[in-house]
Structures are given as C-alpha cells and as structure tokens.
C-alpha cells in the first residue's frame, strides 16, 4: 500500500479518510467521469464501477499498453483513471441486469455518469428511474451539453468539446490553425474535478438535511466556466480576443525560449515570466545582460509590451546559448518565475515531485507495478490515498454480487451463464 498526500509513515491505509463509509455507484467511462469518481474513491468512498464485456470502456482498449498485450486490464489510460475502484460486470441492457443496477442505485449514496443521454436511456438509468429507486440519492449527470436545451443530445469526445468550448480558438498563435492543445484538455481536470466539488457539496447538504439532489452538469458549461475570461471580456467590453501564443496582456517577457541543444536533450525550452518591473530587473541580472534593464524600450511593463517582439528576440538569442537547467537555476535564484518545458519522463523523474511523493507506484495483477497520478489536493489529517491499483474488468463481481446484491452462488452462476453478469 502506498500513500499520497501524507507524511511518510502516516496513514498506510489506516488513517481515517474524509469520505469513509460513502457508497458510490459509478456508471462513468472514458476520461471526464472516471477521474472524478477516482478522486472520490481516494477520499475513502467505496466506488463500484459497473462495466460490461459487451461494450467495455474505450480506454480499456486504448494505448498505451505493453507491446503485444491485448488484455482489457493492462492499458495505462484506463488504469490511471480508475485506481481503487471496484468493478462488477453487469449488462444493464438486460431485464435482470437492469434490476440489479437499480438494486445498486438503492444501495448507493451517490450516482454518477458521463454517458450521453442516449446511452443513459439505453441502460435505463435516467434521472426519473434513479430517483424513483432512491429518492435520497445524489446523482450527477455529465453529458456534453447538459440535460436540457436544443443541444442536449449532442455527443463528442474531449477533442470535439475542446473546439466548442473555446480551447482551440483561444490557444496557440494567430498564424496557425486552431489545432487545440494536443490533448482532450477539459476531460482531465476541469470536468472531473468540477464534478467532485458538486458531489461533495451535495453530500454535505444531504448529511445535514437527508435530501439528495440532481446535479445537471454540462461539460460545455464547466469548460467555458474554466475559460471564462475571454468571453466575459467580449460580453462586457467587446474585447476582440487575439491568440498570442505564450504571451499574456499583463506580463512581459512571458513565453517559451529555446535553449542550446544537448545530445541528451534536444528541443529544450525554457519558460519565464516577468510580472512586474522588479522581476524584469532580476531577470536582466540573472541573464548577465545589465543593458536590458537600462534600455528605455523595456523600462516599464507598458514599454515592454510595446516592444515585445524586440524583447523576445533578445531573450531568444540569449537563451539559444544557454544550458536550460543552468539558466533555470540562475533565474529562480534571482526570484524570476521560470521553468523548463518537461516531457513526461522528466516529469516522472522531477526531483521536486519525487520528494513530494506525487506519483504513486501500485502493483496490479496483470499490468505490474505502474505509476499513477496522485491527488491534485492533499489533506493533512484525512489523507487522500491511492490504496489499490485499478480493478480488472469484473474483478469484484462475486464480492459485490454476494455482499451488496445478496445473491447466492447458484444465482450468480446462472446470471453469468445468461450473460447478465457479463
């Protein structure tokens, strides 16, 4: 067992967690849903994920996976997002499977799904059905565009949502097509963790009043809420947003600058930001370019913004001769916000993240010992922990069918044969 977010030696699976005793029925898949319920599991809730062999989560099939291994249980994409959950396989589209699903609804305090409205109907888990089975449940539905409105049935993955919510139109450089940011960005923190906030808040209300509630969470609304600056500026001041790459309106220099290639690390980029005049002076000193701070073109933020092209040209020429790590150390020693554009191997090896124990290594029956993201927040007394690796598909079918659903061995055998528990 490995802990995250607590001092070494603390916890080890023994500490009380904030959501101990909370029961969650997890009908999520892909990214935006499962990361949210994982966070809830890492807070101590028992999260039961219902899956089916007939239509497994696409992430169980997606790469990365060990070469030549087609198992549904070894994909890193799925496993990282599902640590500590339990998995039962039920085909909810069968009559008996649907009854068992509703039995889990009655068992649960919290229900969450990010399926499309169409898929929710196919498995019979609409709000009406869920609420009728358990009036006190907290249920969060997270379709792409919410449960009402003319686009309620619209579907897409994070890449489609990124286009619609503004990620593409707001990021990158005006001279290039709006390709987005290389990932399905809203899926991984914005939408799942916004969902966690809503679930926790609704649980608090439920503990105080006994009342459950429906949470209608549009991934579009959640994503625009996290990118709200430009639309707010348009609506209230008609500010016509220009894509400016790595610049921001209130700091200069502010960008990424290429350092000298080394054989070990070509394509090394340094980022730095000077948010005020003092940081700019420190920057000039750290770069051993005192003439920069006496140059009237760069004397104030307004002047630096006016001459930003010239400013960036000078810094780029300086950076091209620097070793990235040395330049970073000098800038940070001078108090200038700076960093290196790390790739994933470097992130895994980053001495700071390692010292903090951010990544957690967990043993998995098929995938072996693998890295998992830790929690994006830490709690000092009720640690957020990853106590188990991701479940194999259906790993807990027997346990849940007997303990939670109260089925006998014979019944379970029959339901497996009938491909209900499947």
């Amino acid at each position: 067992m490995t802990t995250n977010g607590s001092a070494p030696g603390q916890a080890n699976g023994a500490a009380r967690r904030a959501l101990d005793g909370v029961k969650v029925l997890d009908l999520t898949w892909f990214g935006a849903g499962p990361i949210g319920t994982r966070s809830i599991a890492n807070l101590g809730a028992r999260v039961i994920r219902v899956e089916t062999q007939r239509r497994p989560d696409g992430l169980r099939i997606a790469p990365p996976r060990p070469a030549g291994n087609a198992s549904l249980n070894v994909g890193g994409y799925f496993n990282n997002f599902n640590a500590e959950k339990q998995s039962i396989t039920i085909d909810l589209t069968t009559d008996r499977g649907h009854e068992l699903g509703l039995e889990l609804v009655r068992w649960a305090d919290v229900f969450m799904t990010n399926m499309t409205a169409r898929a929710v109907r196919q498995i019979g888990m609409t709000w009406d059905a869920v609420h009728a089975a358990n009036p006190a449940i907290v249920a969060l539905y997270q379709p792409m565009q919410g449960m009402t409105g003319p686009h309620a049935e619209y579907a897409g993955f994070g890449a489609v949502l990124s286009a619609v919510c503004g990620v593409n139109a707001l990021s990158g450089f005006e001279r290039n097509p709006p390709i987005g940011v290389g990932t399905n960005y809203p899926d991984y923190v914005v939408n799942p963790m916004h969902a966690v906030i809503a679930l926790l808040a609704a649980l608090r209300h439920r503990r105080r009043t006994g009342e459950g509630q429906l949470i209608d969470m549009s991934q579009l609304e959640s994503s625009v809420a996290a990118l709200s600056g430009p639309v707010f500026a348009w609506d209230n001041a008609r500010v016509d947003y220009r894509r400016e790459g790595n610049r921001v309106p209130y700091a200069a220099p502010h960008g990424a600058f290429r350092c000298a290639d080394t054989p070990a690390r070509p394509d090394r980029w340094l980022v730095l930001a000077c948010l005020d005049d003092a940081q700019w002076e420190h920057c000039a000193r750290a770069c051993a370019r005192p003439e920069w701070s006496s140059d009237p073109r760069f004397a104030t933020l307004a002047e630096r913004k006016r001459h930003e092209d010239a400013l960036e040209t000078l810094i780029a020429a300086w950076a091209a001769e620097q070793d990235g790590a040395e330049a970073l150390a000098r800038l940070q020693a001078a108090g200038v916000p700076a960093g290196l554009v790390l790739n994933a191997s470097e992130v895994l090896a980053d001495e700071h993240l390692r010292a903090r124990g951010y990544f957690v290594y967990l043993d998995h029956a098929e995938a072996g010992r693998r890295a998992y993201d830790g929690s994006g927040f830490r709690l000092s007394k009720t640690p957020v922990e990853l106590r188990r690796a991701a479940p194999l598909i259906g790993e807990h079918t027997w346990e849940i069918a007997t303990e939670v659903l109260g089925l006998s061995g014979d019944e379970i055998g029959m339901l497996i044969a009938e491909q209900v528990l499947y």
Binding site: V160, T183, A198, L200, M217, S222, G229, L342
Partner: protein
C-alpha cells in the same frame, strides 16, 4: 444560477451558506474563492492597501478608473466582500487573525518563506481558530526542493508536462489559454476544502489542504505519463496530427466558409463516416462518394483503427493513400462550402461527432447556453454597469449556485466586516489605490 439581485424568486440556501472563508490569495486562488462563494460561502477577500495585482491586469472595462476596471479581477472576485489590511503592519496582522478566528476556512497563496516573513504562522492561525481549515494554493506546494521557487501560470504549465504536448513540431510549446495552472489549482483547492468541511462537520477537526499547481495540472498530460511509464516513450507536440503521417478523412480540423470545425468521423462512437455522408445529404452537397468504388470502400474501410492497421503495411499503404486523398479532398471541399454552425448543428443531428471551433462571440450567443439561461446579468453599482457573467460549472437542483454581489471595490467592505468582528475601522489601513502594487 439564480438572478438574485433582480429576481423575486426565493433563494434556496447554498450548500456552503453557513461557511465563512477568508481569502488572502494571489491570482492562483481567485477562482477557488469564487467557486466557494458561488456555493453560498461568505468569502471575505483581504487585499493589501494597493489592491490585488490582478486589479491591474488587462483587458479593462472602459470608462471605469483603475483599480476597479480589471476584467479578470471583476470576473473572478464577484460574490466576495473586500477588506483592506496591511499585513506588513503588526496591528493589522492582529486584526487579520481576529478575522480568521471568525472564519471556517483560510484560503491563502503564501509560499512557506512568505508566511514566515509576514509572521502569519500556522501556530498563530491555529491559536486564533483551532478548527481552522487552511487551504494553501501555491505553484509548488509547501514542501520539496522547489517549495520557495517563484511561480507563474506558464511555469506550472511547463513543469507539469502539459505544455510539451501543445503546438507544432517546428514552433514553441504552447500554453493553454486563460491560466489553466491557476484554474486547475483553484478547482482542486475547492474540492479539498469541501472535503475538509465534511470531515470537520463530522468530527470538529480542521486540517490543512494543500495544492500545488504543478501537481494539479499533471493529470492533464492525458496519456503522456503512462506512455513514458509503460513504453518508455515521450509524446510531443504534433501540430494536431496526433503523429499520424496520413490524414484520415473526417478526423480533425477542417476549414469552413467562416472558420473551423473539428470532427471525429471514423471511430466507433457516433455515426462515423456515414454521418459525414448524411450531413452532405441534408445540406444538399453533391459528390461521388455515394457511388462505387467509393461507397463500398467507405462502408468497409472507413474506420480509424482498420485504416491504421492497413497503413502499417507499406504495400497496402500506397494504394490506400490514393483513395484517402480523394475522399479527404471531397470532405474538405464540402466543409469549405458551409458555415461552422450549420455543419455543427446539422452534423450533430446526424449523430456525427462534430464541434464548431467557437470563439468568445460564438460562445456568447450559443443557443444551448442561452436556452439553459447559463449567463447571468447583475448590476454592479460601484462600476455603474450591468455585467454579464458566465454561469457556474454545474446546476445543483437542490442547492443552486448563486451570483449575489459584484466584485468588491478596493476596501469596500472594510468597515462593515471589521464591525462584525468588533474592530473599529480605524484599525485598518486606508486603501492606496494609486500607490504602486507590491
């Protein structure tokens, strides 16, 4: 979100309406305070006499004087009350501690050396409020070799591994717009704070919530960390091609007659490439893709994973490339003849996974967002404006989020808040809005 300022609808209490938060945060934590306030908390923002630095961040609200015109500040600090205290002065630090004593949560963004320097230590805070939930939102967290490093949003984006994935191979790595280091740190801080409130409700015990922006963003590396861990390979920026040498028709970004759309027409979800054909039919676009040999090829082979498999064989790849070129050119010509919104709406009606690339003016008039009354207008008397705010990230039917007040003017609520804790207004510094920010 209820329009409480202009509607007579009775307001249901928010799930945090009994919670008081003191926010002493730089821009990294503004969104956290805003989310807690939207859920009903009484958030008291403490600013230095010169004001929060974000008050001076462009763009600005025209016709309003500094320091009340910074749009980013106005956006992310609505729903809060504002107090000025100069924490560099011992007397006002004492007032600050009294304010903390009245609060359930302290949200701050002090790095360890900064807390020590101004003398707002953990001991002093816990003496003031033993069951305090203290939420620290910083770039690097409170421990580890970089804990006292300088931080800016772009730095977290770089050091979390997210930025390396964005951009073109022959250009720089690119940041994600609108401060996603700040945003994800704030979102995580809010989640941690509500979790800590649940524990305090049950046990009476407060605790420390800690967020590092570098860590908060890490999950947004998507599969990159897992590729490195499992396969020892690093994903890099590909210019939107996903690293594929051949473009699969109907997948990715396409130009329209007024902008761009993004489609995923070759997977297992949605209607796939048949959805493109159906969209063509509805819009009356004529082409030869319904005829042989194209129709048969499309029915059999236009699936991303099948195509990728086939292209792995060099002999097959050349023949395939010729077919894909014709289909791709036809698709590109089709999209170029229509507007992004009609392609989006007609395509989605055919279950095609398609999205329009929306800029702020498109989002502002989105039929979906407006049908759901998502935007909220409130009057801001201090700035003399009716302001239109984007809504909250969720609709909680039992305990809705509310927008109850505009962003505070500098020091607007100092006297009011100090009176509530039995302190005379003379105990606090006057605002110095025209002094230079620290």
């Amino acid at each position: 979100m209820h329009r409480t300022l202009q509607s007579a609808v009775p307001v249901m209490p928010g799930p945090l309406s009994d919670v008081r938060v003191v926010e002493a945060c730089g821009p990294i934590g503004h969104y956290a305070g805003r989310l807690l306030a939207d859920l009903g908390a009484d958030v008291i923002k403490v600013e230095p006499p010169a004001g929060d630095p974000a008050r001076r961040y462009a763009p600005f609200l025209p016709g309003v004087e500094a320091p009340e015109n910074g749009l980013q500040f106005i956006l992310l600090n609505a729903n809060k009350r504002g107090v000025v205290l100069d924490l560099e002065r011992a007397q006002e630090r004492a007032v600050f501690l009294r304010l903390v004593a009245s609060a359930d949560v302290l949200l701050d963004s002090w790095e360890p050396h900064e807390s020590a320097r101004i003398g707002v230590t953990e001991e002093a805070l816990l003496a003031a409020r033993p069951d305090l939930i203290r939420t620290s939102v910083t770039g690097w967290g409170l421990s580890g070799p970089y804990a006292d490093w300088a931080y800016a949003d772009i730095v977290a984006q770089a050091m979390s591994g997210v930025m390396t994935l964005a951009g073109f191979p022959d250009g720089p790595p690119e940041q994600i717009a609108d401060h996603q280091g700040h945003r994800t740190a704030s979102i995580n801080a809010t989640a941690g704070t509500v979790a800590a409130l649940l524990h305090r409700d049950a046990t009476g015990e407060g605790q420390r919530v800690e967020v590092s922006a570098q860590e908060a963003l890490s999950m947004a590396q998507e599969t990159a960390m897992m590729f490195a861990d499992i396969n020892g390979t690093n994903r890099e920026r590909t210019g939107g091609t996903g690293g594929l040498a051949v473009r699969i028709p109907g997948v990715g970004l396409y130009q329209t007659n007024d902008g761009w759309v993004y489609t995923l027409a070759a997977g297992t979800a949605g209607s796939g490439f048949q959805g493109v054909l159906a969209t063509m039919d509805v819009l009356g676009y004529e082409c030869d893709l319904r005829d042989e040999p194209w129709a048969g090829f499309i029915a059999e082979s236009m699936n991303r994973s099948l195509l990728l498999q086939a292209m792995a064989d060099p002999a097959e790849a050349a023949a395939l490339a010729a077919k894909l070129e014709h289909i791709g050119a036809t698709v590109a010509d089709f999209f170029l003849r229509y507007s992004k919104r009609e392609l989006y709406e007609v395509g989605q009606a055919q279950r095609l996974l398609i999205g329009m690339v929306s800029a702020p003016p498109d989002i502002s008039v989105s039929p979906q967002l407006n049908a759901r009354d998502w935007f909220v207008e409130i009057h801001d008397p201090g700035r003399g404006r009716l302001l239109r705010y984007p809504g909250p990230p969720w609709q909680l039917h039992g305990t809705p989020a509310t927008l109850r007040r505009p962003a505070p003017l500098l020091g607007e609520h100092t006297a009011e808040v100090l009176a509530e804790i039995g302190v005379g207004a003379g105990e606090a510094s006057a605002p110095t809005p025209h002094g230079s920010p620290r």
